[in-house]
């Protein structure tokens, strides 16, 4: 157990990464009816050896606390109302870590409130194209901040895509 704790704390890859110079961006994930592969890769991303938190990202369990909506799956008609509700629940304004309110006019909106699609399904339906139960992806229906392709994309592809948020 002691070795496990030391391994965890002094994990070599973690030491090489410097702490990020910004406050975390919080994601709310929604599986809108896919096979679950993209969600599993996101889960892998949040654990060792990738460590999403060290990169300056985190997951929350309510859209009210989120900055960005991560969508996986081809968007079924049954999940569409929940997706709309989640998107509306994401706050327009953001606060810095010291509690001061930051006006949305000062911050690019696409950076702090937006939609990131992960996997082909969430973009255009992928293999699950439009039918009676499936709307078929968000491309052309909402403004997508970043679209990460792949079926499913690897954790490293997702991480590289998410890093693009800081490149603006």
């Amino acid at each position: 157990m002691l070795y496990a704790v030391l391994d965890h704390v002094f994990y070599k890859k973690r030491q090489s990464v410097k702490p990020v110079n910004h406050y975390p961006i919080w994601f709310f994930h929604m599986d809108t009816g896919g096979c679950g592969g993209c969600g599993m890769e996101l889960q892998a991303l949040s654990c060792m050896p990738y460590d999403l938190h060290q990169e300056g990202f985190g997951f929350v369990t309510t859209p009210r606390a989120a900055d960005i909506l991560l969508v996986t799956g081809p968007v079924t008609w049954a999940m569409l109302p929940a997706l709309k509700a989640a998107l509306e629940a994401i706050p327009d304004d953001v606060r810095d870590p010291f509690g001061e309110q930051v006006q949305t006019e000062d911050v690019p909106k696409s950076t702090f409130k937006g939609v990131i699609t992960i996997g082909e399904c969430a973009i255009n339906g992928g293999i699950f194209s439009e039918n009676y139960a499936v709307m078929g992806g968000l491309e052309g229906k909402v403004a997508i901040s970043i679209a990460i392709r792949g079926c499913p994309p690897t954790p490293l592809n997702i991480l590289n895509g998410l890093r693009a948020l800081f490149e603006e």
């Binding site: 157990m1 496990a4 704790v5 391994d7 965890h8 709310f28 994930h29 929604m30 599986d31 809108t32 009816g33 896919g34 096979c35 679950g36 592969g37 969600g39 599993m40 890769e41 996101l42 889960q43 892998a44 654990c47 060792m48 050896p49 990738y50 997951f59 929350v60 369990t61 309510t62 859209p63 799956g73 081809p74 079924t76 008609w77 049954a78 999940m79 569409l80 109302p81 929940a82 997706l83 509700a85 989640a86 293999i127 699950f128 039918n131 009676y132 139960a133 499936v134 079926c151 499913p152 690897t154």
Partner: protein, 505 residues
């Protein structure tokens, strides 16, 4: 008269294991099934007929009933889990199910673009209704009492978790769940319609994406069903390659499951160790197979990998590495403060409950039901030794069973290393069928048997019915929630392997 005798007295069909019943014989069968424990696999509809499959000493036994007048007698009074299939048939085909124990819509939330989309009375849906309230059953409504300060709470479908979406409505009394009902259908993609008249290549791609994490099991079961329909026999190399990939998938799946359990309990360190080991395996595996989830590697008659000639080396490498790592991982799991205690009080499932619902896979084995389809799969001959059995059926038992299964799978990979080291590129074989043929196959996936029934016509797929262990687990999940708190809900769903993406038949 027992159920098998009733079935075998019915009209035979060109397929030796399928019999056509009339209304009277069907009614007698339902009555016989009330007393007979004949294992029920699943039921489905093709628009003309209703089909059901049972398992007679490991072999399939199927029945067919003409859907005359758009109605048929329910099997759910005799088999609880049949209720889910009946509700699906009702939603997709508009069939009326007489004497059904539950006639509420299951998949159709009244937001589809068409109602009864696969039935003869296909109708375009009306305008979108928005977020709808879950329609609970009458029993559920009656269990709610304002006098006792009961609370009605909902959970899902959007919870921020990485799992497939579903909703649970629960009546809470003194903070504990008195009764709970779940709503699925959020992940329904209309797979049955997509499979219909699809090409072999498209159908293979679909089978790989029914449910990630058990993708290989679905591909192998689909391909085996097609091969049986076509009368194709695969070579021993293909057979061994499939076994190796199935066991590889089992190891990776179980590590993911253990990591999810540990994370939900709050044991981040253990979760990270599990995921770290999983990533090491995937890193080694992807260079040989070409896919982290083993998608699009299995086709009728063949297995296509990026570097087939390295698979023996991969098996040997993983055997040496994982066998060593899993022991230390199990020790950390056992020693981690509070982890075992938390899981020991979670969802204890008695053997009787497992038998009553026909639950299969690790959940059943953790409750003492000896059930592993690998023992009768010919490709596992001389490989499969045993599957660990636990007795109490708690969350902790289920977790330790996964450790046992990983060890056993890794041992099998080690045994496969030598025979697979001589395998080079496997030639692709094309399956052609001129007239309508049907084939079925069952494969022991990571979370229980995966069953496919495939109908072919002129080289195309006519119908596909697939079913995994998730149907019975969904029913079990609702029942086991009693007495737990709402905070236990995601942990219990994870421990039982609730996965609504797979409930798309």
């Amino acid at each position: 008269m027992d159920a098998v005798s009733v079935i075998r007295r019915a009209e035979p069909t060109p397929t030796p294991w399928r019999f056509r019943l009339n209304d009277t014989q069907w009614r007698i069968l339902v009555q016989a099934l009330m007393q007979d424990p004949l294992p029920f696999i699943g039921m489905w509809c093709d628009g003309q007929d209703v089909h059901a499959v049972f398992l007679e000493t490991g072999s399939p036994l199927a029945i067919t009933l003409a859907l005359e007048g758009g109605r048929f007698l329910a099997l759910s009074p005799a088999r609880d889990v049949a209720s889910l299939y009946e509700r699906i048939i009702c939603d997709l085909y508009g069939a009326e199910v007489l004497w059904a124990v539950d006639d509420r819509p299951l998949l159709d939330h009244n937001v589809w673009q068409a109602s009864m989309p696969m039935g003869r009375c296909f109708q375009f849906g009306e305008e979108q209704k928005g977020l709808l309230r879950f329609q609970v059953s009458d029993d559920f409504s009656q269990s709610f009492s304002y006098r006792r300060n009961d609370v009605l709470e909902g959970w899902g479908p959007a919870t921020g978790s990485m799992d497939s979406p579903f909703h649970v409505s629960a009546v809470l009394r003194n903070g504990h769940i008195l009764r709970a009902e779940s709503q699925i259908g959020y992940a329904h993609r209309g797979l049955a319609l997509r499979w219909r008249h699809s090409s072999m290549k498209e159908a293979c791609r679909l089978s790989a994406r029914v449910c990630a994490g058990v993708s290989m099991a679905h591909q192998v079961a689909f391909c085996m069903a097609v091969e049986k329909a076509c009368g194709v026999e695969v070579t021993w190399e293909v057979s061994l390659l499939r076994v190796a990939l199935l066991e590889l998938e089992r190891v990776v799946h179980h590590l993911y499951k253990l990591a999810s359990l540990a994370r939900l309990v709050g044991a981040g360190l253990v979760a990270n160790r599990c995921m770290s080991l999983r990533e090491d395996i995937l890193e080694a595996q992807v260079s040989v197979t070409g896919s982290r989830f083993l998608m699009d590697v299995c086709f009728p008659g063949t297995v296509i990998l990026r570097k087939t000639d390295y698979i023996g080396e991969l098996c040997h490498k993983l055997y040496r590495y994982v066998d060593e790592q899993i022991i230390s991982l199990a020790t950390i799991w056992r020693d981690y403060p509070g982890l075992g205690t938390r899981l020991t009080v979670l969802g204890a499932i008695p053997r009787e409950a497992v038998m009553a619902l026909g639950v299969e896979g690790p959940v059943a084995r953790a409750s003492g039901k000896e059930d592993d389809h690998r023992r009768i799969m010919p490709s596992y001959a001389e490989l499969w030794r045993y599957t660990g059995i636990q007795r109490q059926g708690t969350g902790e038992d289920r977790a330790f069973l996964l450790f046992d299964e990983i060890t056993e799978s890794v041992r099998m990979l080690g045994k496969l290393a030598n025979p697979l080291s001589t395998v080079s590129v496997v030639e692709e074989r094309v399956c052609h069928v001129e007239k309508g043929e049907e084939g079925i196959a069952m494969v022991e996936g990571p979370w229980g048997p995966v069953f496919y029934w495939v109908w072919l016509s002129q080289g195309y797929i006519s119908h596909v019915f697939q079913r995994g262990p998730e149907y019975a687990l969904q029913c079990l999940f609702e029942r086991v929630l009693h007495g737990h708190t709402m905070e236990d809900l995601p942990l219990l769903a994870c421990s039982l392997g609730v996965n609504t993406a797979a409930l798309d038949s």
